[in-house]
């Protein structure tokens, strides 16, 4: 697949931004600077970027508890997100949502979501709105291998087929539902066949290769955008961290994490491929690395200096208007 250089560099910048955002968030969590539960996406960056590079601002995504990568890939403000993780009132969600609820409706980000498979039904609603208005938009739901065993996921997939709406179900298999392997939790041998039995095509990608994800996502999104109803995308790629920050990861095989970082790192794969063909130089990618590190430094510094919420803000933003009662 050939891509314009500008797009190549943009894709790399997006993946690198996610990587550094996550790795720095990890440091700040371990330092006690970021409160709450945080689930890191490190390692899976090619999935989010390979999908979102096909989307316009008006297309929507909905994400998961492991949502930072999807939000950055769809255009969320990185500094606003970091402030949100720190719990500042200047955060993207005014410190009300935190890591698990980052959202930016204006940019088509219908939210990270703390409930496994909470997102797919909502995404079908966004796709239904696109169908009713006939505006050519699509709705992508990202969810993990854990989500495919939730009833809401089944309901959403079936309803999307019945109503023939432009919904794309992106299933990211990172092998573990929390601490339980997919080989235990999915009762059948062929999850792709089980999903396709709902009545839509599922395209498969190598989740550590941006180009593989980009190509498969393009097919799924084109299928949906062309009025053919929903489509699926499966991408396999392990996460570099635990389910949550602090997870002892007893489920990992010896050497599994080292192997993932060594042999299944989408940034390395991207760099090797694009520099080997001569499309991009190491110097150009190094320059992006430096830019991104500077941006993340700026984001963390801004988050640490940002104002904290005040007591009266607890009850703000519950309703648009609760009347005089």
């Amino acid at each position: 697949m050939t891509m314009p250089k500008e797009k190549l560099l943009r894709a790399y910048r997006q993946m690198k931004t996610i990587r550094e955002f996550e790795e720095r968030a990890h440091v700040e969590i371990m330092n006690g600077q970021i409160p709450g539960f945080t689930h890191l996406y490190t390692g899976q960056e090619a999935n989010a970027v390979g999908v979102c590079e096909h989307l316009d601002e008006q297309d929507t995504i909905i994400s998961t508890h492991r949502g930072h990568g999807h939000c950055i890939a769809k255009g969320a403000d990185v500094i606003g997100m970091m402030k949100e993780l720190f719990g500042s009132s200047e955060g993207l969600c005014k410190g009300k949502g935190g890591s698990m609820h980052v959202a930016d409706i204006e940019k088509g980000i219908l939210g990270a979501n703390g409930i496994v498979a909470g997102g797919p039904p909502i995404s079908v609603g966004s796709a239904l709105a696109a169908k009713i208005r006939d505006n050519g938009r699509v709705a992508v739901s990202f969810s993990g291998d854990g989500s495919v065993n939730q009833g809401t996921c089944f309901e959403a997939m079936n309803l999307a087929v019945v109503l023939k709406v432009p919904a794309i179900f992106v299933i990211e298999n990172n092998y573990y539902s929390e601490h339980t392997n997919i080989s235990y939790a999915v009762g059948c041998d062929d999850l792709k066949a089980r999903t396709e039995a709902f009545g839509f095509p599922v395209f498969v990608a190598d989740g550590c290769d941006f180009f593989s994800v980009y190509e498969a996502a393009g097919k799924a999104i084109n299928h949906a955008r062309s009025g053919n109803g929903p489509a699926g995308l499966f991408a396999e790629q392990g996460r570099f961290h635990g389910h949550f920050v602090g997870d002892p990861q007893y489920y990992r095989a010896e050497g599994e994490l080292d192997d993932l970082r060594e042999n299944s790192d989408c940034l390395k794969v991207f760099r090797n491929k694009t520099t080997a063909t001569g499309e991009v130089s190491h110097e150009e990618l190094d320059a992006i690395d430096a830019d991104v590190l500077a941006l993340i430094d700026e984001a963390v510094a801004a988050a640490k200096a940002a104002p904290r919420p005040t007591a009266e803000q607890v009850v703000e933003d519950v309703y648009v208007n609760y009347g005089n009662a």
């Binding site: 039904p121 079908v124 709105a129 009713i132 933003d317 309703y319 648009v320």
Partner: protein
């Protein structure tokens, strides 16, 4: 003024709202009916007939039948509302909140707060609620008291056809998610309902009777029953205020407290079991904010702490009767 049943008043409100605003659509199980069958599509109009005619008037893109998938129905409404539509979803029986609670409570009810006030979710979910049909334990619950507990949701319980039309039109225009409970025992009850569109603001109780001796607060299908009880007591020289809050969230606390201040007595009536109920909630409100005015213990008239029974004799015992309301009012005066 024309007389209409609550069913027809709600149906008229849906027709008018959909004609006025093309972002309004209805979605649910059999809201059109007969899709994929030999029958004529649209001939059902919901299991209670409330959405009749909408398919014929507005077509398949705006009167949308779904599989039996309550989580997907509520989720689809939530997602469509997040991107600017005004869906009106129907959950056939309020009891089925049990299978779509996450999408109501954790999703649509919390979007705005979790997203820092940067989203709106102007969805309406309609539920047929309450007992009186020998529909037994899984098709008879009121359920509105449960959703009242969740910040982010507005909860509406009309007690007559006039209020049902005006409150539903307000619900559809409202920018927050609104849970609209239709007491199914009242669908056939009729009163005067204007043909034109009108709205009733949320958080404003209706004063249905005025009296000096006791304040009676009742919800949904208990409102006409409480009115009958109060009317029967008139012959004995007992007069009561009757307050129908109409919305349980927001709640018109001022109307209730003002009345209790004046009468010094309070009876609260609802068809739900007593624990964590609206009757307990209103009693706590009065105890907290009008204790000094109370001349007698507050009385709660409600169902017992049991599931709703099937047999008509058992259900008649279960749901508060006018006689029980009369006894409670008299007890406050004893």
């Amino acid at each position: 003024m024309p007389v209409k049943t609550m069913r027809d008043a709600i149906n008229e409100a849906l027709h008018q709202a959909m004609a006025e605003d093309d972002s309004v659509f209805v979605i649910g199980e059999d809201v059109a009916g007969c899709n994929g069958s030999q029958g004529e599509v649209g001939s059902v109009g919901g299991v209670f007939g409330v959405t009749g005619g909408l398919y014929k008037a507005f077509g398949p893109n705006r009167c949308i039948d779904t599989p039996i998938s309550e989580s997907a129905i509520v989720g689809a409404a939530a997602g469509a509302a997040l991107v600017g539509m005004r869906p009106v979803a129907e959950i056939m029986f309020a009891d089925f909140i049990g299978v779509c609670m996450d999408q109501i409570v954790n999703q649509m009810g919390k979007f705005r707060y979790m997203f820092g006030g940067k989203s709106t979710c102007p969805a309406v979910i309609r539920f047929a609620s309450g007992g009186g049909f020998s529909a037994a334990s899984q098709h008879s619950q009121a359920m509105y008291q449960i959703l009242t507990a969740f910040p982010g949701l507005k909860v509406v319980v009309p007690s007559n056809a006039y209020d049902a039309k005006g409150l539903l039109l307000q619900a559809i225009k409202d920018d927050d998610p609104v849970m609209f409970f239709e007491p199914k025992a009242l669908y056939q009850e009729a009163c005067e309902v204007p043909d034109e569109m009108y709205t009733i603001p949320f958080g404003q109780a209706a004063y249905l009777r005025e009296g000096d001796d006791c304040t009676v607060v009742a919800f949904g299908q208990m409102v006409p029953r409480a009115a009958a009880a109060i009317d029967a007591l008139e012959a004995e020289g007992i007069s009561c205020d009757l307050i129908d809050p109409r919305t349980t969230s927001p709640l018109d606390e001022g109307a209730i407290l003002e009345s209790v201040e004046a009468t010094g007595r309070l009876v609260v009536v609802d068809e739900t079991p007593p624990r964590c109920s609206l009757t307990a909630d209103i009693a706590a409100l009065a105890a907290d904010k009008a204790f000094h005015a109370l001349k007698a213990p507050i009385k709660q008239v409600c169902a017992p702490h049991s599931p709703t029974p099937f047999s008509p004799e058992l259900e008649a015992e279960y749901i508060p009767s006018a006689e029980k309301i009369i006894a409670a009012i008299k007890a406050t005066l004893a």
